[in-house]
C-alpha cells in the first residue's frame, strides 16, 4: 500500500514531516511525497527522500492508496477507492461527506477525531489551537501601538496593557498564558463551567456572566447559549473591551457560526491604537467588524481576522501536526499494512465517508 503526502502551496505547513515517516515505516507500506511539500516549513525534499519517493502531484494522486493533506483537495482529485485524510470540516462544508462518498473515497476528517482523553495525541484541533493562541498574542502585541508590560522609566511611567481573552479553550488558555508572560493584566471570558477554574489556574482574572447553560457531557465543546445570556455577556464584554488594549477572540461553537461578542460600536469605544485578534474569523468571528483573513483599521483599532495563525510558525506547527497525523495513522496500520479497524471508535468517529 502507498501513502501520499500533498504539497499545499496555500499553506506553509505540511501534514507529515520526515521524522514521522521514519516512525511509520513498515515493509508493507511505501511513502510518496509531492515535490516541495515541506519547503515552506523548512523540510526540504532531500530530508523526505530518505524514506519516500519524491513525485509530482499527478503521479501521487495516481499511485497513492491513502492521500494525506492538511486541507482537502477538490473531491474530483481523489481517485476512486482510495482513502483520504484531511481537515474536511464537514460541519462547515456540509456537502463534502456526500460528494466524497459518491466519488467512492473513504475519508477521515482530522477535525472529527473524538476528543477523548485517549485521542489527545491525535488531537490536531488542540495542537493547532495552542499555536494559534500563542501566535495571536505575539501578533497582537506586535501590532499594538503600546507596551504590553508596565515600564517605569526616566521618560515616564507606562501602565501595563489590559488583555481580554474571549473563549478559554485551548487557544484561549494558551493566549492567556502568553499574554501573562509578556506582563499584561489578563481577563478572560468563557461560558463553560470548568473554564473559570482553568483560567484562574493560569493566574488570570475570570469575568463571570450569570446564567450560562450547563454543558457538561458536551465532550469539552461549548453548547449554544441562550440569546438573553449572550446579550448580557455582550454588555459585559462591551464594558471590558472598551477598557482593553488587546482583545484575543477564540470563542467558538463547533459547527455553528462563532458567537458575536464584540459589536461594531464596542470597537469604536476602544482606545485608538488598540488591537483585536479574531481567531474565530473563519466562522464569522467574535467581532462584528472582523473580516476573515484581512487586517483592517476601524476607528484607530486594528482588527486582525485570521483563523490559520498556526501557519505563522510552519516548522513547529508541521511537527506537531505531523505527530498527530502519525499517531492517527498508527491506528490504520495492522500487520505491516493499512487496514483501518472501523470498530475503533477513533477511526469510526473520524470517518465521514465510507466507500460502500
Amino acid at each position: 500500500m502507498t501513502i501520499g503526502l500533498i504539497n499545499e502551496p496555500q499553506d506553509s505547513r505540511v501534514a507529515l514531516t520526515p521524522s514521522n515517516f521514519a516512525k511509520l515505516a513498515t515493509p508493507g507500506i511505501a511513502f510518496i511525497v509531492e515535490k516541495g511539500a515541506g519547503e515552506a516549513a523548512f523540510f526540504p525534499d532531500s530530508a523526505y527522500a530518505e524514506h519516500a519517493r519524491i513525485v509530482s502531484r499527478a503521479d501521487l494522486l495516481r499511485e497513492a492508496d491513502l492521500v494525506v493533506s492538511i486541507h482537502p483537495l477538490s473531491v474530483s482529485d481523489y481517485r476512486k477507492g482510495t482513502m483520504a485524510i484531511a481537515l474536511f470540516q464537514p460541519f462547515v462544508d456540509t456537502t463534502v461527506a456526500e460528494s466524497l462518498k459518491n466519488q467512492g473515497v473513504t475519508a477521515f476528517s482530522l477535525d472529527m477525531i473524538p476528543r477523548t482523553t485517549l485521542a489527545q495525541a491525535m488531537d490536531i484541533l488542540s495542537s493547532m489551537a495552542g499555536i494559534a493562541g500563542y501566535q495571536a498574542v505575539l501578533l497582537g502585541a506586535g501590532s499594538l501601538s503600546r507596551f504590553v508590560p508596565m515600564m517605569v522609566t526616566a521618560a515616564g511611567t507606562v501602565k501595563p496593557s489590559k488583555v481580554l481573552v474571549l473563549g478559554a479553550g485551548v487557544a484561549g488558555l494558551q493566549a492567556i498564558a502568553t499574554a501573562r508572560r509578556l506582563g499584561a493584566t489578563v481577563e478572560a471570558f468563557d461560558t463553560r463551567q470548568a473554564a473559570k477554574e482553568e483560567v484562574q489556574s493560569l493566574g488570570a482574572k475570570f469575568v463571570e456572566v450569570e446564567g450560562a447553560v450547563d454543558d457538561r457531557g458536551a465532550g469539552g465543546y461549548a453548547v449554544q447559549q441562550s440569546e438573553e445570556f449572550l446579550a448580557k455577556q455582550r454588555a459585559e464584554v462591551q464594558l471590558r473591551a472598551s477598557k482593553a488594549d488587546l482583545v484575543i477572540c477564540t470563542a467558538q461553537v463547533r459547527g455553528r457560526k462563532a458567537p458575536v461578542l464584540i459589536t461594531a460600536d464596542t470597537v469604536s469605544q476602544m482606545r485608538p491604537g488598540s488591537v483585536i485578534v479574531d481567531l474565530a474569523a473563519s466562522t464569522g468571528g467574535n467581532c462584528e467588524s472582523t473580516q476573515n483573513d484581512k487586517t483592517i483599521q476601524h476607528e484607530g483599532v486594528t482588527i486582525i481576522g485570521d483563523s490559520n495563525l498556526a501557519a505563522r510558525m510552519p516548522q513547529d506547527a508541521s511537527t506537531l501536526f505531523g505527530n498527530n497525523v502519525a499517531n492517527f495513522l498508527k491506528l490504520f496500520i495492522k500487520n505491516e499494512t493499512l487496514n483501518p479497524d472501523f470498530n475503533n471508535e477513533i477511526i469510526s468517529g473520524s470517518c465521514i465517508a465510507k466507500q460502500s
Partner: protein, 474 residues
C-alpha cells in the same frame, strides 16, 4: 570503699548518658548516635554493678564462682537471644519486638520485686514505704509483662483483635483494678506476715489485668499502648531504683516514665485520637483498619507532614509530578521552594511532565517557567518513565489521570492505552490532593490504593507551605 566511689561515678555517667541519649534520639540527625551513647552508658552501669557493687563480694570461694557463673550465663543467654532476635526480625515487625522487650523488662522488675518482697519478710518487720514500693513494682511490672506480650501477639496477628474482647470489657478492667488496689492495701496493712503469699496473689491478678487491659485495644492503636506500657516499666524501674536506692535505676526509670508519657500523648496527637479513646479501645475496630479512610472496599494510607518531610529530606532522588491541581492551587512557586531546599540538602530533584498534564498544551511548562524551574530539570514522559524506577520518592502534586495505572492494566477504562507516568515504579509515592475526587477523566485511580502510595490531603499550596516549613525544621 574506693570501688564504691567509682560505682557512684559510673552510675552518674550512665544517668547523664541516658538524658543525652534521649535528647539526641529526638532529632533525626543525631538519633542513632544518641541510642549508641545511651547503650554505652548502660554498659558502664552494668559493668560497674558487676565489679564494684558492694553485694558483689558477699560470698567468697566456690560459692562466689558459682554465683558469678549463674549471673554470666544469664547475661549470656539474655544477650544472645536479644541480639539475635533484634537482627533476625524484619523491619516491618520492629514494633512487636519493642513490645516484647518492654514486656520482659517489666517482667524483670516484677521478679526482682518478688525477690525483694521475700527479703522483706525474712526476719524483721517490713517498712510500710518499702512494702508499698515493692508491691507497686510488682503490679506495674506484671501488667506491662502480660500487656506487652498480648500487644506483641496482636501485632504478629497471632491473635485476632476482636476474638478476645467482649461487651462491658471496661467494666471488667475497672473491677480488676479495684481488686488489685485492695490487695495492695491488705498486703501492706492487713496481711501481716502472710504478706508474701498475698503479694504473689497480687502478682497473679496483675498478670491477668495486664492481659485484659490490652485486650480491647485495636491493632492500629498498639503503638500507643506499647508506649503506655513502656512508661509503666519506666516507673517500675524507678521504684526499684528507690528500693535499692540505686540512682542509675531511679533516673533511668523516671526519664523513661516521663518521656514515655509525653511520647504517648504526642503519638495520640499524631494519629489525632485522644488517649482515652485509645485506652478504652472505643473504636479499636475501625482503627484496626490502619486509621485510613475507607474507599469502597480498599483503604488508603495517609502520611503526616513530618514523616513526609523526613522521607523527602533523607532520600537520594525525588521526582515531582505536577498536575492540574498544582495550577489550580497556584502552588508553583512554593513547589520550587521545596525543590530548592531539598536540593540544598543534597537531594536530586527532577520534574516529570506528562504531555497532557493540566488543561492546555504546555500548561505545566507555563507554571514551572513562572516559578523559574530551570529547563534541564524538566523531563517528558519517556525520559521520566526511564528514571522513575530509580527514584526514591515521587511527589504527585495535584495530578490524577496522568498517573492512573488503569491506562496500562484496565482495558475497560476509558483512558486505557494512554501513556502515563509510572510513578508506582519508584520506591515510594506521596500524592497531594484535596480529596479522593477524580480528575478530568472522571475515573477512579488505583494509584491511591497502591501499597507504595501515601496520601497527603489538602490544598496543594497550603500543604506545600507546611511541608517546606517541616523540611526546614529538620
Amino acid at each position: 570503699m574506693f570501688s564504691n566511689y567509682l560505682l557512684d561515678i559510673l552510675y552518674l555517667i550512665a544517668s547523664v548518658t541516658f538524658v543525652v541519649g534521649l535528647r539526641m534520639l529526638s532529632h533525626p540527625d543525631s538519633a542513632r548516635r544518641g541510642n549508641q551513647i545511651a547503650a554505652i552508658g548502660m554498659g558502664l552501669a552494668v559493668f560497674g554493678t558487676l565489679f564494684f557493687h558492694p553485694s558483689a563480694d558477699i560470698e567468697t570461694g566456690q560459692a562466689r564462682v558459682n554465683k558469678l557463673l549463674l549471673i554470666y550465663s544469664a547475661l549470656g543467654i539474655g544477650g544472645f537471644l536479644g541480639w539475635r532476635s533484634a537482627y533476625k526480625v524484619k523491619m516491618t515487625a520492629m514494633p512487636q519486638m519493642v513490645s516484647l522487650f518492654n514486656g520482659l523488662g517489666g517482667g524483670c522488675a516484677a521478679l526482682l520485686a518478688i525477690a525483694e518482697l521475700k527479703q522483706q519478710y525474712s526476719g524483721h518487720d517490713p517498712s510500710v514505704s518499702a512494702l508499698i514500693l515493692v508491691l507497686f513494682t510488682i503490679f506495674f511490672g506484671s501488667v506491662s509483662l502480660t500487656g506487652s506480650l498480648l500487644a506483641f501477639a496482636k501485632l504478629e496477628e497471632v491473635i485476632k483483635d476482636s476474638s478476645i474482647t467482649f461487651s462491658r470489657h471496661t467494666l471488667l478492667n475497672v473491677a480488676l483494678l479495684a481488686l488489685i488496689l485492695s490487695l495492695i492495701g491488705y498486703t501492706v496493712w492487713g496481711a501481716g506476715h502472710a504478706g508474701m503469699t498475698w503479694g504473689l496473689i497480687l502478682f497473679a491478678v496483675a498478670l491477668v489485668y495486664g492481659f485484659s487491659f490490652v485486650a480491647p485495644i485495636g491493632g492500629a492503636d498498639m503503638p500507643v499502648v506499647i508506649s503506655v506500657l513502656n512508661s509503666f516499666t519506666g516507673l517500675t524501674a524507678a521504684a526499684a531504683g528507690i528500693i535499692y536506692d540505686n540512682l542509675a535505676m531511679l533516673v533511668g526509670g523516671i526519664l523513661v516514665g516521663a518521656s514515655g508519657s509525653i511520647l504517648t500523648v504526642l503519638m495520640c496527637k499524631a494519629m489525632n485520637r485522644s488517649l482515652m479513646n485509645v485506652l478504652i479501645g472505643s473504636f479499636g475496630g475501625n482503627a484496626a483498619a490502619g486509621g485510613g479512610k475507607i474507599a469502597g472496599d480498599q483503604t488508603v494510607k495517609e502520611i503526616n507532614l513530618s514523616d513526609a518531610a523526613v522521607l523527602l529530606n533523607y532520600s537520594q532522588s525525588v521526582t515531582i509530578v505536577p498536575g492540574y491541581g498544582l495550577a489550580v492551587a497556584q502552588a508553583q512557586k512554593i513547589c520550587k521552594e521545596l525543590d530548592d531546599i531539598l536540593d540544598a540538602n543534597g537531594v536530586e530533584v527532577r520534574y516529570a511532565i506528562h504531555p497532557v498534564a493540566g488543561r492546555m498544551p504546555g500548561h505545566m511548562n507555563v507554571l514551572l517557567a513562572e516559578a523559574d524551574v530551570p529547563y534541564p530539570k524538566l523531563f517528558d514522559l519517556e525520559e521520566a518513565n526511564e528514571f522513575l524506577p530509580k527514584s526514591d520518592v515521587v511527589i504527585v502534586i495535584g495530578a490524577n489521570d496522568v498517573v492512573n495505572p488503569a491506562a496500562l492494566d484496565d482495558p475497560s477504562s476509558p483512558i486505557y492505552g494512554m501513556p502515563v507516568l509510572q510513578v508506582w515504579d519508584a520506591k515510594s509515592v506521596i500524592v497531594m490532593k484535596r480529596s479522593m475526587k477524580s480528575g478530568y477523566a472522571g475515573i477512579e485511580n488505583d494509584l491511591f490504593f497502591h501499597p507504595k502510595t501515601k496520601m497527603l490531603f489538602g490544598d496543594a499550596k497550603e500543604t506545600l507551605q507546611k511541608l517546606v516549613a517541616e523540611v526546614k525544621g529538620l
